[in-house]
Amino acid sequence: MPVLWIVLAVFGLGLIGYFAGRMRALGSAGGDARRLHSLPNYYGWHAFMLTVVPALLVLAAWLLVAPSMIDTRIGDSLPESAIAEGGSRSLVMAEVRRAAVALDMAIEQGRMDSETAANLRSDMADVTARLKETGAIITSTITQPVLRAAQEFRVLSGISNFWMTVVVGLLAIAGFALALLQTHKDFRARNTVEAGIKTILILASTIAILTTVGIVLSMFFETGNFFEKYAWTEFFFGTKWAPDFRGDSELGMLPLLWGTLYISFVALAVAVPVGLFAAIYLSEYAGPKLRAVAKPMIEILAGIPTIVYGLFALITVGPIVRDWIAQPLGLGNSTNSVMTAGLVMGIMLIPFVSSLSDDIINAVPQAMRDGSFGLGATHSETIKQVVLPAALPGIVGAVLLAASRAIGETMIVVMGAGAAAAQFQEGLGAVINPFEAMTTVTVKIVSQLTGDTDFASPETLVAFALGLTLFVITLGLNVLALYIVRKYREQYE
């Protein structure tokens, strides 16, 4: 791990800088720390910072940019014939990278010297076999152009690594020297260090923005690729979902969206009344003893991972729904169903709805309740006619947040709802029967991205379009909900 060594070396230099800076500052003040502008440690940190930070930033940037530059150069030099065989440029490049790794490993294990590795031209089957011996992942026989590219890849990487080491090392030394030059008893070391720390703090807080940008960009580009291969009108308005790995798939989103919304609706139909009534009882009626027991128990439901709910749907709720309801009524024979997934998701959302509603109900001023009681209203009349209407915007916000959760939930639907898309062409009955299996947007994102299909095919890329749709829907719901809740809170502040 040469990168690790570079990092360690830079840190080592930084540490030396720390002590050197400290000593130099003390020296300039004649050994009397009181005559320094800042505490001696700050001079040390100043030197450390100047040594380490620029060097590591450049290192990070280099690591981020260099691989893609090398990829482009080699990718461009690949002959068209090699690409035609492999399917797409990115796939061939993956092959090249694997071959390069294998060459590295071969050298490391002493099976080849670097000379042979660089000039290998012999029989390809033999080369493949020799590289496979290293334990590297080589899937197919390496072709001549791939080997060439791999060798070039190694050369370029070597050059890049060399210059990276040089530049980073020089930067560290330059920072070290500059810091020591600046160090003097009147130098405002504390202010400089604090400005540096503040910059780090700002950088840390921008990660939230970077994440959002990353999410949007990563899905945007691939969605663009998808729409190049598949008409967007057919994606958004298509009523049939029938992916086919041989191509010629029908990838209409509507059946998936219907399944998502239907299951979310069932979940909310369970979670909203139960959660709301539980919150009302706990905040308005329950004595301290009941509250001390029931509240944490309901909150435990919130801490249970969704995979547990998924398993619960699979091994308990699914069979119960099928054996006790669906089969006796002749409505279906599947353990996977809208009802199963909806019920379990509803249970998952109960604590979510109840704790949000609890906060919101508690935010209604006591004066409102007193006013109502003072007029001779019963407790339930007060709740129904004063507290709930006053809390309504907040509760609507909570329900929207719960809906966004339900729409984005994955594991419960993967394990409880099934993989078959709603069949619009088979009539209304098949689509609204809650005891039929029905798949959702999230289930299909998982299945399309974990399947074995070619990454560049529309069958895989559709997952990104689905993901972007999901992101936009949930984002819209969240923004709306947060806006409503914030407005509501302002009303009583």
Binding site: S205, I209, I280, V308, L311, V414, M415, F464
Partner: protein
């Protein structure tokens, strides 16, 4: 005067509130009945919530607890030199050449001799030789081979081994397989079950706690008895380490900036909006992010804990930032003023006074964030952690780049397999996962109780 009215409760009085207070009028009775109904609804809702929790836990526990028990068959295996080391050279490379197929006859011989010892008549039970060999797990030969390679000097001795019984035999003692179901099962015959009973009577077969479940790696489709959560636990541990070492410092730094230094401007607003939205973005979207950025763009390996850790870090950050900001906010401004008043810089007042006081709250939030990350499944599936991993990852830091599984993904992986024994394994793994979560939440509660400060 007053007595008179008290004694005549029906005395009609002026106004709308005629009648005594002691008698609820019809309307009040109706209203009180509706009040009672409303209360019952509330209580019912709480009942549903609590009942759901209990049913869920009971169903998982009842399904999963058997996974910690396993049926073993004890055999005295003669390590035949003629089969394992024909030349008698004890050359480890040559011994390694003998595959697990070479070890199978040894186990078969050991079973035959055990039968003779116990006086079990295989013909009477209708158990063929092949069926007899199928009594022990396919893992047994591998176990034997590992032992021989580790102790080549024991070749020629007779050594007592405890082998895993095959999944169906194990299922027989857990009620999953019965004599009736065995009739219809191509993988097990009733004769084998009777044979197992005979072995049990003879003391060669026993069921006890199975450490292997916690320490072993995943096993292939047809040997559920050998599947364990060792690799998954290591993978989860590595990811939690990555999350802890990235999310905690970044989250605390971001919170300090936002809470203590950030000016009120569009940039700060944008960060705030982003954080609150990221907290509600579906987890699977983070998986897509991880796949596109960390694997496809940055070229990090699939199934690696480092990628999982990075994805989970991004997911956990909002949680940590929100709780850290809350605990920074709860430190009263008087503390900051006091520090500033003796001439400390803003930075010093924050790092020397505010941050230490807020630390318990920050740690509590971090633990809760970690607990969330530990149970997260969907994003890890997208970055390839569903893959079948049998090799333990090496020690950090290289281990972060080795393929590994994760506890929740392992659970999902097992639920997709055909053999019902894997459902038991999945539930068992869930119990382990829930135990971890329980411990983490317990720790968080203790921290909060222990250090909670009221200003």
């Amino acid at each position: 005067m007053t007595d008179a009215t008290a004694n005549t409760p029906a005395a009609p009085k002026e106004g709308k509130h005629a009648g005594s207070l002691f008698d609820a009028d019809a309307r009040t009775q109706k209203r009180n009945a509706s009040e009672a109904r409303f209360r019952a609804l509330g209580l019912g809702a709480i009942g549903i919530g609590v009942a759901a929790l209990i049913v869920l836990l009971v169903s998982i526990l009842s399904q999963g607890l058997p996974a910690f028990q396993q049926t073993f068959i004890t055999l005295d295996v003669y390590l035949d030199e003629a089969k394992l080391d024909k030349n008698g050279e004890r050359d480890i490379e040559k011994i390694k050449k003998v595959s697990t197929f070479g070890y199978a006859p040894l186990i078969k011989n050991a079973m035959t001799s055990r039968n003779e010892e116990l006086g079990i008549d295989m013909a009477a039970l209708g158990v063929s030789d092949k069926e007899m060999s199928a009594m022990v797990s396919k893992e047994a030969a591998a176990q034997l081979r590992r032992f021989v390679i580790a102790n080549p000097d024991r070749i020629g001795d007779t050594v007592e081994f405890e082998f895993l019984a095959s999944g169906r035999i194990d299922g027989y003692y857990k009620g999953r397989v019965t004599l009736e179901s065995a009739e219809r099962d191509s993988n097990v015959s009733p004769g084998q079950l009777q044979y197992a009973d005979a072995l049990k009577e003879g003391g060669a077969l026993s069921t006890h706690f199975n450490w292997g479940f916690l320490t072993m790696a995943d096993a292939s489709e047809n040997r559920p008895e050998a599947a364990g959560i060792g690799v998954a636990m290591i993978g989860s541990l590595y990811m939690m380490l990555v999350v802890l070492f990235l999310a905690l410092p970044i989250g605390v730094a971001a919170s300090i900036y936002l809470e203590e230094f950030a000016p009120k401007n569009w940039f700060t607003d944008m960060i705030e909006v982003n954080i609150s939205n990221l907290a509600a973005v579906p987890s699977i979207v983070f998986g897509i992010l991880g796949l596109a950025i960390f694997i496809n763009y940055a070229g990090l390996p699939q199934s690696a804990p480092i990628v999982g850790g990075l994805v989970l870090t991004l997911m956990t950050l909002p949680t940590i930032i929100i709780s850290t900001r809350a605990s920074l906010k709860s430190v009263p401004p008087s503390i900051r003023d006091a520090a500033l008043g003796v001439g400390a810089s803003k930075m010093q007042s924050v790092f020397h006074h505010v941050l230490p006081l807020a630390m318990p709250g920050i740690l509590t939030g971090t633990i809760i964030g970690l607990a969330q990350a530990l149970g997260e499944t969907a994003p890890l599936m997208l970055i390839g952690m569903v893959a079948f991993v049998r090799e333990f990852p090496s020690a950090p830091p290289e281990g972060f780049f080795d393929p590994a599984s994760a506890l929740p993904v392992q659970v999902y992986n097992w639920t997709t397999r055909a053999d019902p024994a894997f459902v038991e394994r999945a539930s068992g793994a869930i119990i382990v996962l829930l135990c971890f979560l329980l411990c983490m939440n317990f720790l968080a509660i203790i921290l909060r109780r222990r250090f909670e400060r009221r200003w």
